[in-house]
Symmetry: C2
Subunit: 459 residues, 2 copies
């Protein structure tokens, strides 16, 4: 690759793949491809090293697994001119959660009942293709598929790849290595050998099984197509997200010991009859049994680490830096925001990596930890709290105050999904609101008591 | 290795080495060698694979770095008949902390002022040699040095080693793999690729530099030889442990930003003159400067993971499972207790690894996490709390109640150092005691107020 004066050569390492529940492979390159677009726009030379073969060349495009895009992700896509095609043309708007109780009664809880924002369900495959096409349009971007990172000297920008097609090893040297290689990132594992690199991988004791919900006759949605459907059952739940082709992608999230009890056709059908009877009718018994037993329940991992960079030569982004459980639908959004932040720092520090990378860690690490925690919390909210009166009352109070003083009282969910407020700040905001509400309840109680006492003595 | 009916072939993987501050290497095999003794005693065939060459063959035996042995470690040594030689003949008894203030005034705080227990400082090199000799005496134990674990299939008990002498790779297959390969354990890293294996590595933002304190003329200790000396200075501290040869091994523990300021001879001497003037006199200016600048400050790592085993074929013990910061002097003691617990389970389940290993994880993981937390806490106690009146008052109350009701009121430090109470229980005990004391203070205050009020009205 020819060097351009004042411009750097940057390698983006893609993790490439994750075995999905149906043994097909998900491409995880989206954050890497987005980074390539941003950096190429600044004139840098980009080489993408992707473990997988080119997804666009494959006959089978795998299962249609959807991703949820909200404000942070959209802002990143907007900056490279892809928001319209991905969100407005091919995204399916979800305006809120549709809660299903055991009897099949529905209750809609809007994501944003004040300003009407919604979250978009986007086809993962399509998103990847669009991003890869966009990256490839830049002449400075070189795409290398079937390259597995074997070893790296992160301080010197040196890497060794295995060409999985030819079996040969290839060496590369660049000015900056960007590890966008997913939750099981090789770049992060190499970083973890360095002193003072903190890292934690946590699997929750719950797993998931993916189930497709077919469309009705005449290609219609079987349920409301503008909602994320949730069947909250306390300890476990089902969710399903609408697809562009009017099917739904559903997931059963539950403790592994619940899955342990669902080993036979009878046990499974009786479980679904008891807890998700409306959904069972939509999927059909045969289809449910077939899909459910096709594979083992998958695990859910959360990754926190610090820092995200090594000197001025290596940085990790996206799931490689902060894989999270999927319950806040912020995995890709946070990854995309990483690239937006990186680009903002490129602008501020004129592509001086020695200044950019430490600042990136400073800005993003604590936020990465915060969104990992929020995602864990949201699982409890989705599977349990949403059915509680206290939760619905809090939603009501939030809505009221957000309507009255929208710049002052920003509800947590809104801040996370529909603003770029740092995740740390989102949590701090919520804590401060909780305090205000607790105090208000206390004073209200005190006032009621005072009024009651006065009226009693004045009788 | 010939198989014996009903007995298993067990591989013990030793981590072998850690670069110490003076570029010499510490042997980390002690837990592995201890395990070999216990398991060989039960008739199993043992193969030790040690990264390092045989420490006993080396001319230079490295610096005399000492380890602290207390009850848990001693119980393990007693079970294989090594307590007497290691502790009673070659251990240096430390009966308490000797606190040095800035003016050189001394204050002794006994570890156990009620029953008189003490902790023993033991030479690491000597301990290793004794343990290796003991292991080698069993005909079932085979020692392989210079073997670096490269890869393993933990479920099948298969391993691939690099012979660092010949450069050849060697394969091995056993019934059980015991990873005793230290904080940077390869066995643990292979475990970490498996789903549902949780793991966190945390470096604290403090480092340390090791400094030797020479003995006086006529080979006498320069300070009291029966104490662990501490110079608590709030944010940082010096400690020093007595050696059998009447020198002390000292350590400066401090935040890295403090070390950043100690880059010149002048800065260092002025720092020592201000904070550790008595120690500076003992070490001497030239010797201090020479030792201090010989190497960079070392990092301090803490490892928590769960589970400790894979099926019935692999388990990690010691630092590989629960490396901790050194402030409770429980690193080796906990590792030795691991082996004691493993042996107790071998007895209970008649060497049935399918039952033993899950039980080992169940018993040890939470305790491993607990002692890691306690070790972190003890740093604050040693460098800061020991100088506070409230801390000394609490020590006094603990002593009083421990004397009066020794089976009921067991102080935290005593429980950790001088019993085999599980570390979780030690913490629960302390929390319960704190609660009792808080309530007592509240009632005492109330009672005082009531008595005062009564006496006032009765006047």
């Amino acid at each position: 690759m020819t060097e351009v004066e004042g411009k750097s050569c940057i390698a983006i390492v893609g993790g490439g793949l994750k075995r999905t529940v149906n043994k097909k492979k998900k491409l995880l390159l989206q954050v890497g491809a987005l980074a390539a677009c941003f950096l190429a726009k600044r004139g840098h030379q980009i080489v993408i090293y992707e473990y997988r073969s080119d997804i666009r060349m494959e006959k089978s495009r795998g299962q249609s697994i959807n991703l949820a895009l909200s404000f942070r992700g959209r802002e990143a896509l907007k900056a490279i001119g892809l928001e319209n095609i991905l969100v407005k043309c091919h995204g399916t708007c979800m305006r809120g959660r549709m809660l299903h109780d055991k009897d099949g009664n529905l209750k809609e809880v809007l994501y944003d009942s004040v300003k009407g924002n919604c979250i978009y369900s986007v086809n993962r495959q399509y998103l990847n293709v669009v991003l890869l096409d966009a990256a490839e349009k830049y002449p400075q971007v070189q795409l290398n598929f079937n390259r597995k990172l074997v070893e790296a000297d992160l301080e010197k920008g040196k890497m060794k790849f295995l060409n999985t097609h030819t079996g040969a090893t290839e060496d590369a040297k660049v000015d900056l290595i960007i590890g966008a290689d997913g939750a099981h990132s090789t770049v992060r594992k190499i970083m973890a050998r360095r002193p003072l690199f903190n890292c934690a991988q946590t699997y929750i004791e719950h797993g998931y099984v993916e189930l497709s919900v077919p469309c009705k006759e005449y290609n219609e949605f079987a349920m409301s197509g503008n909602n994320l459907h949730v069947w909250p059952r306390g300890e476990f739940m089902m969710t399903s997200l609408p697809n562009e082709n009017h099917t739904f992608t559903g997931n059963l999230f539950a403790p592994f010991r619940v899955f342990e009890k669902l080993k036979t056709r009878e046990a499974l059908l009786s479980f679904y009859t008891e807890h998700f009877s409306d959904l069972l009718r939509l999927i059909g018994e045969e289809k449910l049994v077939e899909q459910f037993f096709e594979k083992e329940p998958q695990t859910l991992i959360s990754i926190k680490c610090k820092p995200y960079h090594v000197g001025k030569t290596a940085v990790i982004v996206g799931d490689a830096a902060h894989a999270m459980v999927p319950f806040y639908a912020q995995g890709m959004n946070t990854g995309f925001e990483d690239i937006l932040v990186l680009d903002e720092l490129m602008e501020r520090y004129d592509s001086n990596f020695a200044k950019i990378l430490p600042k990136f860690s400073e800005l993003r690490c604590d936020n990465g930890h915060a969104i990992c925690d929020l995602a864990m919390y949201n699982y409890i909210e989705m599977r349990d709290l949403v059915t509680k009166k206290s939760f619905l009352f809090r939603k009501f109070v939030d809505k009221l105050l957000f309507t009255l003083v929208p710049n002052f009282w920003i509800p947590l969910y809104f801040a996370v999904q529909f603003t770029r407020m740092s995740f740390r700040e989102c949590i701090a905001h919520k804590e401060w609101q909780d305090k205000v509400l607790r105090m208000s309840i206390f004073y209200l109680a005190f006032l009621s008591f005072a009024v009651f006492s006065c009226s009693f003595f004045l009788k």
